[in-house]
């Protein structure tokens, strides 16, 4: 009860501040939209897809997962600014729930990600992408869990390193192989065997496969529940680890 109340309190505050400066939602969308407009048209011939819509069913899920990963991983920067302004310390001397300090922020990130995902999806509709609503919502659930995990991890790391100079290269170093090994831009079915073998160890590769299966309407595909299960476990682990960083003393 207290957790829910405190989480809502932090979430409200963070959302309010975000809405005061809504321009960055569009900044966040800008890059994926560029991919959608300038890169995706190459895909139909490159993937040997039968129609443009078929190519989009492969590409848009990857793009959304990409958005969730990157959107989350770079949230730590905002936290370092708050750390520097003394907001975190001011919160930590109150009896407010430590988990709520994290969840309130991460849930704001999830909501802003979903807003971006809706914009991308709507744009893709213009390019003849068609997905049934139920499957789309399930895909959004996967995206929400990914964003929850990556933003929580980013906050936890930010509390540990406490400086933008350390956080930026760290997150880039993590994000790059994760991105390349998840078949986000092109499906890994094109990859040589060894690369596919390595990618199996990348949880995001499972997530991408799961979202792709949903976009083509294969609810029964094992990849859907496998992806959801893997990401759920990681999200819970990430949240608990990061909440501990909030509870621990920050010097």
């Amino acid at each position: 009860m207290k957790l829910a109340r405190d989480t809502w309190l932090i979430f409200r505050r963070q959302t309010q501040l975000l809405l005061r400066n809504p321009v960055w939602i569009f900044v966040g969308v800008f890059q994926p939209v560029m991919y959608l407009l300038l890169f995706a048209p190459l895909l139909k011939p490159a993937l040997n897809a039968s129609t443009q819509a078929a190519a989009y069913k492969i590409f848009v899920p990857g793009l959304l997962v990409l958005l969730a990963i990157f959107g989350g991983l770079f949230q730590g920067f905002g936290l370092i600014a708050e750390l520097r302004a003394g907001i975190i310390e001011r919160s930590r001397v109150t009896p407010v729930s430590r988990l709520a300090l994290l969840l309130g922020r991460s849930l704001r990130d999830v909501v802003s990600l979903l807003a971006q995902a809706v914009i991308i999806t709507l744009l893709a509709l213009l390019f003849d992408l068609r997905v049934s609503l139920g499957y789309l919502l399930l895909a959004y659930l996967m995206l929400a869990l990914i964003a929850l995990m990556t933003s929580a991890v980013s906050y936890g790391v930010a509390l540990k390193v406490k400086s933008e100079d350390a956080l930026a290269p760290l997150m880039n170093t993590v994000a790059q192989p994760v991105l390349l090994l998840s078949g986000i831009l092109l499906p890994l079915t094109f990859a040589p065997g060894w690369l596919q073998g390595v990618a199996k160890w990348n949880p995001f590769s499972w997530a991408v496969d799961g979202v792709r299966a949903l976009f083509v309407g294969e609810l029964g595909n094992d990849k859907v529940w496998q992806g959801l299960a893997i990401i759920t476990v990681l999200a819970v682990a990430g949240v608990f680890w990061a909440a501990r960083q909030f509870a621990r003393s920050v010097r």
Binding site: K2, L9, E89, R90, R92, V93, P95, V96
Partner: protein, 319 residues
């Protein structure tokens, strides 16, 4: 209100490959009474902030015990948090928020209901003369206004004790005087105020009792007046050039009316005497006999700096 026994904290710092342990606070015993302004005086790096952060539950002590407003720091930090307020040195307001929003949020984080939080925010804005700027963003405030918002944030839940870490550092003289009035007002409202400072005049003018801290230890404790009285008598400063200082020291060290003698590095002597009026003529005569010329001689009542000097061998102004 506050009682600590043997509070300790050390940090590991890494320089290259070596890890060094720095004992930031080495066994602090304190007793702070209800309703007083208690000052923690000491140079930067003496361990004041570390001690304060331990008392405010922000860092865990390595050893020792503390009871704060009746709650045990080690076993029940959550209860301590409910009973204390803490205002950090480096600020605690967000540029893009308004003072009112910050105050309401802070009250809500203490579990206070929405309507009551708004009432308290309005009352605090009024008490700290911030109503005029209440709905402007914090980034538009002056240093003094911002500091008042921060103090208001620290006491929005009406704690029994409030810890203020260097509340006047970086403020201009006028804002500083204003802040002193605010702090006295908190005491008048029945709050116990615990401040840290490295300003001697602030400790002297504002605090009911002080503890002087150096190298992680409390080296003296008491009311400013009692501490100064401890250095019995008065202080005579003799201005000399550096060359003749050792000779003058030798001449005066054996004099019966000099209780204690210290040389000043840049030249000159600091003499602790019972009564300046009778000591000065004798000092002058002795130096004259020794053929030593002095550039100045002054008499002053002992200051907290003299207290610090006698306890640590250094001047607080120098460290």
């Amino acid at each position: 209100m506050i009682e600590t026994r043997g509070l300790r904290k050390s940090f590991r710092s890494r320089a290259g490959r070596e890890t060094k342990t720095v004992d930031a606070v080495r066994g602090v015993n304190l007793e702070v009474a209800e309703g007083e302004i208690f000052g923690f005086l000491g140079p930067n790096g003496a361990g004041k902030t570390t001690t304060l952060r331990m008392l405010a539950t922000l860092i865990e002590p390595d050893g020792g015990e503390a009871t704060i407003a009746g709650a045990d720091l080690r076993t029940d930090p959550a209860e301590v948090r409910r009973r204390i307020g803490y205002v950090a040195q480096g600020g605690s307001t967000w540029d893009e928020s308004t003072a009112r929003e910050e105050l309401v949020l802070q009250a809500r984080m203490y579990g206070i209901g929405k309507a009551e939080a708004h009432r308290r925010a309005a009352r605090a804005l009024d008490a700290f003369q911030l109503t005029e700027y209440a709905d402007r963003k914090c980034k538009t405030y002056s240093g003094g206004q911002r500091r008042r918002v921060e103090i208001a944030l620290g006491i929005i839940h009406e704690p029994k004790i409030v810890f203020l870490d260097e509340p006047t550092t970086g403020l201009d003289p006028q804002s500083r005087a204003h802040m002193w009035d605010e702090i006295r007002r908190l005491r008048a409202e029945g709050m116990t105020v615990f401040i840290t400072t490295h300003y001697l005049d602030e400790a002297d003018a504002l605090c009911d009792r002080i503890a002087i801290m150096d190298h992680g230890e409390v080296v003296a404790e008491g009311t400013p007046a009692a501490l100064k009285r401890e250095i019995s008598g008065e202080v005579v400063l003799v201005g000399l050039d550096a060359g003749s200082t050792p000779q003058a020291a030798e001449l005066l060290d054996t004099a019966a009316y000099v209780n204690k003698l210290e040389t000043i590095d840049t030249g000159g002597l600091r003499l602790f005497v019972d009564e300046g009026a009778t000591a000065i003529p004798q000092i002058l005569r002795r130096l004259d006999q020794g053929g030593i010329e002095l550039s100045s001689i002054e008499l002053h009542r002992p200051s907290l700096d003299d207290v610090f000097l006698t306890k640590t061998g250094r001047s607080l102004r120098e460290s």
